[in-house]
């Protein structure tokens, strides 16, 4: 952000004085927005369930026995729509929060797990797992089968984040230009690896792998929701412990240390969190980009950069956003489905460019 622009912005905000809304109100508004989006998402789809029939379908009011329509509604709602909405909400929360944590870790509002190759690293490892799990080796790790994809995606994301941090950070400083370029290179390497796997994969594997590249929520099931829930719960619980550290880390690693933060431990926790959250999301829906950039950016404009509120708010807004985007993705070209990654990129990339342009004066990129 150039100083002139900052001054202009600040002037708009009642002559330089910035007012932040109370935390409780922010969280209530986000929760209400999420509830409304989820209700809307539950009613819209290839087989519509009007709002009037929703209470009956949800089982809130008893429907008269033998009503075929109500039975159909219930089936659609509980076996297709609700798991999908739940998975979309959790993935949105995971991506929004991991973007916010990563931006704090790298002291850079342009950090996003998908943009800098962390998601690609996870997708590469997951694609590798698909191919390997068909080989003879797989019979030895059969007991791991249900966890194989999330685990592989987590390990891939973790490896990518660590490599990225090692490259971009030097004696307590993180170079923004090097960080983005290294991320680009790592994404290219991971994508080359995915390309190789596509080349050697058979038809069935190919279909599975293609799914990582585009990102889609069409495979959402209750069991996938069950994979995501503990990761999100751990992430939200960890937020209380890292938010103060991330605030001070914005001032630099030395300053954070002077203020009493165990910087190395904080960085390790953040790297593991980002990798676990991104990996879990990638293992269920493939690569969905830009949620991690858009969500914290929009929030910072209103609630400021303090992580104590920003992190939980990112979960809330990310969830609403992705539920909304997924609803759009499965309705605009119905009965077909648009890959959700295309939608988030179409909205997110321009916002990314906007932040970049505003920053140009500062970062000299």
């Amino acid at each position: 952000m150039s100083v002139a622009e900052v001054k202009l912005n600040a002037f708009v905000k009642t002559n330089g004085r910035v007012r932040r809304p109370p935390a409780l109100i922010v969280l209530c508004v986000l929760a209400a927005a999420l509830l409304v989006t989820m209700l809307l998402a539950a009613t819209v789809g290839a087989a519509g369930i009007p709002l009037a029939r929703l209470p009956a379908a949800l089982g809130l009011v008893a429907s008269e026995p033998g009503n075929a329509l109500a039975a159909r509604d219930q089936l659609i709602l509980w076996s297709i729509r609700i798991p999908r909405v739940a998975v979309a909400a959790m993935i949105g929360g995971l991506l929004g929060a991991s973007g916010a944590i990563m931006q704090g870790l790298f002291r850079n509002p342009l950090a996003d797990p998908a943009l800098v190759g962390v998601s690609s690293g996870g997708a590469f490892a997951a694609a590798g797992a698909i191919v390997i799990s068909d080989s003879h080796f797989a019979t030895h790790i059969l007991f791991l089968q249900p966890y194989l994809l999330p685990l592989a995606a987590f390990v891939g994301s973790l490896a990518t984040t660590i490599i990225l941090y090692r490259i971009a950070s030097r004696s307590g400083r993180t170079s923004i230009a090097i960080f983005l370029l290294a991320g680009l290179a790592i994404a290219a390497i991971a994508n080359a690896g995915i390309g190789l796997l596509v080349f050697i994969a058979d038809d069935r594997q190919l279909r599975d792998i293609t799914f990582w590249l585009l990102g889609s929520l069409s495979g959402a099931t209750w069991s996938k929701a069950a994979t995501l829930a503990p990761v999100l719960a751990i992430g939200v619980a960890a937020m209380a412990f890292i938010s103060r550290g991330l605030d001070v880390l914005i001032l630099g690693e030395s300053e954070a240390f002077h203020t009493g933060v165990d910087v190395e431990r904080l960085k390790r926790i953040c790297i593991v969190l980002v990798s676990a959250m991104t990996g879990a999301a990638v293992s269920v829906c493939g690569v969905v980009g830009f949620v991690g950039i858009v969500v914290p950016h929009l929030l910072r404009l209103v609630i400021g950069p303090g992580h104590r509120l920003l992190l939980p708010a990112s979960v809330g807004l990310g969830a609403s956003l992705l539920v909304g985007a997924d609803t759009l993705a499965r309705t605009i070209v119905a009965p077909a489905e648009m890959p959700i990654g295309i939608l988030t990129a179409a909205v997110g990339a321009p916002i990314f460019l906007l932040i970049l342009l505003r920053q140009r004066g500062l970062v000299g990129l």
Binding site: V18, H258, G260
Partner: protein
């Protein structure tokens, strides 16, 4: 007096370069020490050692008699506060939000009072709800100083008088705020805080420090009261320039640097100082 902070025989070597070579330094509680010296003399390196930000290659730093490397970061933050030279904030925190970060994990009932007092003391009362990137360099520096004061006060509420380390705290301040800042540090010293400041302005150092340590090429070139250390002899040896050293009415020395042209025109032997 016991030393609040003590460096014994500390050296720092990075690769083949020796940044500090066998430096000894004792700082007592309630004392204000200025570290001066030419660029690259090792002043900031010494301060980073004293804050435990940097490890010694040889030698030992003791804080309250205990090896400083054995303190956990949170313990250390309650005993010493440090103002660094360049802090850039890439997210739009307001002045008050940033100053509040000085509280650390301390959930003191009085901490908001401390925050208000610190903002008031550095003269940023009208700026507390402004975003940091909208302030001038000097205003930002004062905001960071307020944050460090809050940290110091929170620590002193727990452990008694602490240590305040300042790395070129006046570099972007105008004259009035330079003096105001050093006076604030001076007040802390009177209340028992040990203050160590790297200063470039020798006159400021002379005016406010109890003791001056002059570094050159990573070693202590001179150390003592301002009257003993700031002589034209020492200045010529350390900074390689000619200055006239005069005395103020209360006997404190002050410096009048000669311009480069004067140096070349006059003989290098001229060191008697200008009489009023």
């Amino acid at each position: 007096m016991t030393a609040a902070l003590e460096a014994s025989g500390v050296s720092v070597a990075i690769g083949h370069a020796t940044l500090l070579d066998h430096v000894d330094l004792r700082i007592a509680a309630g004392e204000m020490v200025a570290i001066v010296g030419p660029n690259g003399a090792g002043k900031s390196t010494l301060l980073r050692l004293l804050s435990a930000d940097l490890r010694t290659s040889r030698g030992l730093i003791r804080l309250g008699g205990r090896d400083i490397s054995t303190y956990a970061p949170a313990e250390l933050a309650l005993r010493r506060a440090m103002l660094s030279q360049h802090v850039t904030v890439s997210f739009p925190f307001t002045v008050e939000e940033m100053v509040r970060m000085g509280r650390g994990n301390q959930a003191l009932a009085t901490s908001q009072v401390l925050v208000d007092a610190a903002i008031d003391e550095v003269g940023l009362n009208g700026f507390r709800h402004r975003e940091l990137p909208t302030l001038s360099g000097g205003e930002q520096q004062r905001a960071h100083f307020a944050r460090v004061l809050v940290q110091l006060a929170c620590g002193e509420a727990v452990h008694g008088p602490g240590i305040l380390l300042l790395d070129e705290p006046t570099s972007s301040l105008d004259l009035r705020h330079q003096i105001a800042l050093v006076e604030i540090a001076r007040r802390r010293a009177r209340n028992g805080t040990a203050v160590v400041a790297v200063l470039h302005d020798l006159n400021l150092a002379v005016r406010f420090a109890d003791r001056i340590v002059i570094l050159r090429h990573g070693a202590v070139a001179a150390e003592g009261t301002p009257g003993d250390t700031i002589t034209s002899d020492v200045i010529r040896r350390v900074f390689e320039i000619d200055v006239a050293v005069d005395r103020t009415i209360d006997g404190a020395p002050f410096l009048l640097p000669q311009t480069m042209r004067q140096i070349t025109e006059t003989s290098p032997k001229r060191d008697q100082g200008v009489s009023p």
